[in-house]
């Protein structure tokens, strides 16, 4: 329609014209007045003339649809005038000419635009088909895109899920590998048992149990767990047998292993009880066997079953002839058992840290000082304190080897010297000096030491008064008492409390853990080693135990300080000693040491408010000395005598990337050895 409209707009007034034409032709049966024929065209065909004719058409003809041309022309006729036919004819001619011109023009225009119209229409049709095709393509495209999108998402998701599955399987495989190893451990455990490596076996077994507990969600593990429990019990049985063996033939090496094993099991007390039983039964069994041997020898073919006879009755069967040799043999056997017993006691006195305190019963030669030295490996007593203790012992303590019960408590007067002397003091059995949880009698230590310190303070307050009361001739004695005894009292704190710190943490274990660390790594690590966490955990326990004690007995700040200061110092020494255990070390390994120590410091500073951290530089300097160049190293070794020969040697020899030439390494080792000789 739009198109038709457009075409119509090209022909101004065409509608009116055509409608008027229609009117003329659409009256059926009506003979037109005049028919146009090309051949008998009434008027000229001159285009110019035509244009003129068209332009002469009155404007009113071009007005609107409601225009009635007939009426318009009729109105022109003046009713007042008579009809002038000529004029009318003339007008009619004009109108006809005009009509003809317009018709001609319309027909021309239609003809002229016909082809363009057809062409345009064709193009429109074409466009329409194109659009339809495009629509189909788009719809297809969109459908396929959405399909692809869906497929792609599904594919990605399945890749992701497969990847996840893979990761899970890998971790499962890792677990399975561990379990496999665990399962095989049993064989290794049996081997170790055969090798009599009880501590190793127990350690391994405990580790296995620990590992097994992390895998307890696997069904196969529960079986393994019970198997491990069985193995552990079997080990304990074997251990018990091994313990029994020591009664007859004591071997230090063997006994060491057994004791270590019991310590690992946390059953040292059981071991002691068992040992006593074993000794009893060892005595009984050997004696029985010897007597039985002699009795059977004499009885000959007698069928009496001596085996089941009680020992007492069996002895009745000993003949007079065999009496003496039997007794000799019995004595020999007893002697052997007793010798083992003696050696066992000896071992405990020398090596067992738990027993040292119990067994530190002083004899005449060792006395107080020895008691202290035994407890704290001898380095802590100041010379002044040592002298004071010695003087007190010499002047005030009775020099008896074994104080009888009658001598306990009451002072006795030594008749020769007419001096008051006291029996050797004994620790009440109520005081628990071996309990780690009570920090080796820390509360009792505090009560004793702090009371003494209080006394000494009071004496100091009294000093001026006493001096004014005493006769001048005696004054030097008083002054001596103050300078040699009263003032020295506070020095006691250090040895008394330090030994607590020394025993509170098993630093040996830390060394063990550190020895297993690999320091010859090739990468800068970002995670510290587990031994650091272990130490921090132990320190936390230490702190808790101190707090526990402090809830019952007030804990003075200096005591807190001594305890912490010493435990930190020992930790730091252990760090250096542990680092020195590294056989091979790379720069990256050194970095790991720094990382470990930094982690320790960071956490430690949250645990205690002791600042600065004692001996922090001791560790840091040691770690970093590794980076020194050859020339600097020699000077450094000479300047740092605080490190042991082992520690210095490790520094020089552990480097993997040959920081030094082999020759210079040897030279440095020589320097260390030379210093070592000077030290002795």
């Amino acid at each position: 329609m739009a198109l038709r409209k457009k075409i119509r707009s090209l022909l101004p007034g065409s509608k009116q014209r055509s409608s008027s034409l229609d009117d003329d032709q659409s009256s059926p049966g009506y003979e037109p007045i005049y028919k146009y024929k090309e051949e008998d065209r009434e008027f000229a065909r001159d285009p110019l003339e035509q244009a003129e004719l068209i332009s002469s058409i009155e404007d009113v003809y071009f007005s609107d649809d409601s225009f009635d041309s007939s009426r318009y022309e009729l109105k022109k006729l003046d009713s007042t005038q008579p009809i002038d036919l000529d004029k009318m004819d003339e007008d009619r001619d004009v109108l006809r000419k005009q009509l003809q011109a317009v018709s001609k023009k319309v027909s021309d225009l239609v003809l002229e635009n016909q082809s363009a119209y057809v062409k345009e229409l064709q193009r429109v049709m074409e466009l329409q088909t194109n659009l339809q095709t495009a629509n189909v393509i788009c719809a297809n495209g969109r459908r396929q895109l959405s399909l692809a999108k869906k497929d792609f998402t599904v594919a990605s998701l399945s890749i992701l899920s497969n990847h996840r599955k893979r990761l899970q399987l890998v971790s499962l495989m890792r677990s399975l590998h561990t379990i496999k190893t665990l399962q095989r451990t049993d064989i290794r455990l049996r081997e170790m048992m055969e090798e009599e490596d009880y501590p190793g076996a127990i350690q391994l077994c405990l580790e296995c149990q620990k590992a097994a507990s992390t895998f307890k969600h696997f069904t196969c593990i529960s079986e393994l767990n019970s198997k491990l429990q069985d193995t552990l019990e079997m080990i304990e049985e074997q251990l018990d047998q091994a313990l029994a063996k020591t009664c007859l033939n004591f071997d230090t090496h063997h006994y060491n292993k057994v004791q270590t094993a019991y310590r690992l099991l946390g059953k040292t007390q059981t071991a002691m009880d068992q040992l006593h039983m074993h000794f009893t039964s060892a005595i009984h069994n050997t004696a029985f066997t010897i007597v039985l041997g002699y009795v059977e020898l004499c009885a000959g073919s007698d069928n009496t079953n001596f085996q089941k006879m009680p020992y007492r009755d069996l002895c009745g069967h000993i003949t007079v002839d065999t009496y003496i040799p039997c007794l000799v043999n019995l004595c020999k056997a007893l002697w052997e058992v007793m010798m083992s017993y003696h050696k066992t006691i000896d071992w405990h006195e020398r090596f067992d840290p738990a027993a040292q305190q119990v067994s530190s019963t002083p004899d005449t030669e060792s006395g107080f000082i020895c008691a202290f030295q035994k407890e704290s490996s001898g380095r802590v007593l100041g010379s002044k304190l040592t002298t004071t203790l010695k003087r007190i012992e010499d002047n005030l303590i009775q020099q008896s080897v074994v104080p009888g019960p009658s001598q306990l408590g009451a002072p006795n007067t030594d008749e020769k010297n007419t001096k008051v002397k006291f029996p050797y003091p004994h620790l009440s059995p109520v005081v628990e000096m071996t309990d780690l949880n009570k920090l080796f009698g820390l509360s009792e230590r505090m009560v004793a030491t702090e009371s003494l310190l209080f006394l000494s303070e009071q004496f100091q307050f009294l000093q001026s008064h006493l001096e004014s009361m005493i006769p001048p001739s005696k004054k030097p004695f008083l002054q001596q008492f103050y300078s040699q005894t009263v003032i020295v009292a506070h020095e006691l704190r250090i040895p008394v409390y330090r030994s607590v710190a020394t025993k509170a943490i098993d630093f040996e274990q830390m060394i063990q853990m550190m020895t297993n660390v690999r320091w010859d790594i090739k990468e800068i690590m970002s995670q510290h080693n587990p031994y650091v966490d272990w130490l921090l955990q132990e320190l936390q326990l230490f702190d808790l135990r101190i707090q526990e004690v402090a809830r019952k007995v007030p804990l003075p700040q200096p005591v807190y300080y001594i305890l912490w200061e010493h435990v930190i110092r020992l930790s730091n020494w252990t760090f250096v000693e542990g680092f020195a255990c590294a056989k091979k070390c790379s720069n990256e390994g050194r970095a790991l040491m720094q990382l470990d120590f930094q982690q320790f410091l960071m956490k430690l500073e949250k645990l205690t408010d002791i600042r600065p951290i004692p001996d922090r530089e001791y560790v840091e300097t040691y770690i970093k000395a590794f980076y020194l160049t050859e020339n600097d190293m020699e000077q450094w070794i000479r300047d740092h005598r605080e490190y042991s020969t082992k520690q210095l040697t490790s520094l020089v020899t552990s480097g993997v990337t040959s920081l030094f030439q082999k020759k210079s390494r040897q030279k440095l080792v020589q320097v260390i050895e030379e210093i070592d000789r000077l030290r002795r």
């Binding site: 800068i524 955990q537 720069n587 930094q598 590794f626 980076y627």
Partner: protein, 210 residues
């Protein structure tokens, strides 16, 4: 006892001797100026957990010795560093001139994606300045580094330098430009975000209008 964090970044502090690297580290960790500071032997280490854009990030910082004699040692610390502070002294042109060498070392020895921030330290010594802000800034721009002038003495811009570097790394992780799972990226996930699936940038799918 274990601290939790979303990411762990390995950082490196490099630059010529005496530019104040250890003082910057000390100021960052302890918030104090290290009065007596000797030449670093080998390497120093410090770590701190910081908050960057709502994420807690543990920075493990290796502060290397600047002296030439330790170069062979310190080179082994470059590997697997995610970020680096390249430090010079604004009062010493010599330390500025050496930057190109340090930069070359860092780019070849560390991960190629390492994010480096240039730090002109000793900003407080304005009177002795030998290197202008502008030329250093241009140098940084030319070499694709960020740039700040810092003062370990007053603490100005010290924390900012570390944070800026960390922030840049974090942005690169989020945009996918850095992959923390790649070996030697110097980046690790912390416990709290253990293998958390990373956000994929929003897909803006435009609907066709036909």
């Amino acid at each position: 006892m274990s601290e939790s964090y979303d990411f762990l970044f390995k950082f490196l502090v490099i630059g010529s001797a005496g530019t104040g690297k250890s003082c910057i580290l000390h100021q960052f960790i302890e918030s104090k100026f290290k009065q007596e500071s000797n030449h670093t032997i080998g390497v120093e280490f410090g770590s701190k957990v910081v908050n960057v854009g709502g994420k807690s990030v543990k920075l493990q910082i290796w502060d290397t010795a600047g002296q030439e004699r330790f170069r062979s040692v310190t080179r082994s610390y470059y590997r697997g560093a995610a970020g680096a502070l390249l430090v010079y002294d604004i009062t010493s042109r010599e330390t500025y001139n050496a930057l190109a060498n340090w930069l070359a070392d860092a780019r070849t020895l560390a991960s190629p994606n390492i994010v480096i921030i240039l730090c002109g330290n000793k900003k407080d010594l304005e009177a002795d300045r030998e290197v202008t802000f502008l030329e250093a800034s241009r140098f940084a721009q030319e070499n694709e580094m960020m740039f700040l002038e810092t003062s370990a003495l007053t603490g100005e811009n010290v924390e900012e330098a570390f944070l800026k570097c960390a922030r840049s790394i974090l942005t690169k992780i989020e945009s996918g430009e850095l992959d923390p799972e790649r070996m030697g990226s110097g980046i690790q996930y912390g416990d709290s975000s253990l293998r958390r699936t990373r956000r994929i940038p929003d897909q803006t799918t435009q609907q066709c209008n036909c």
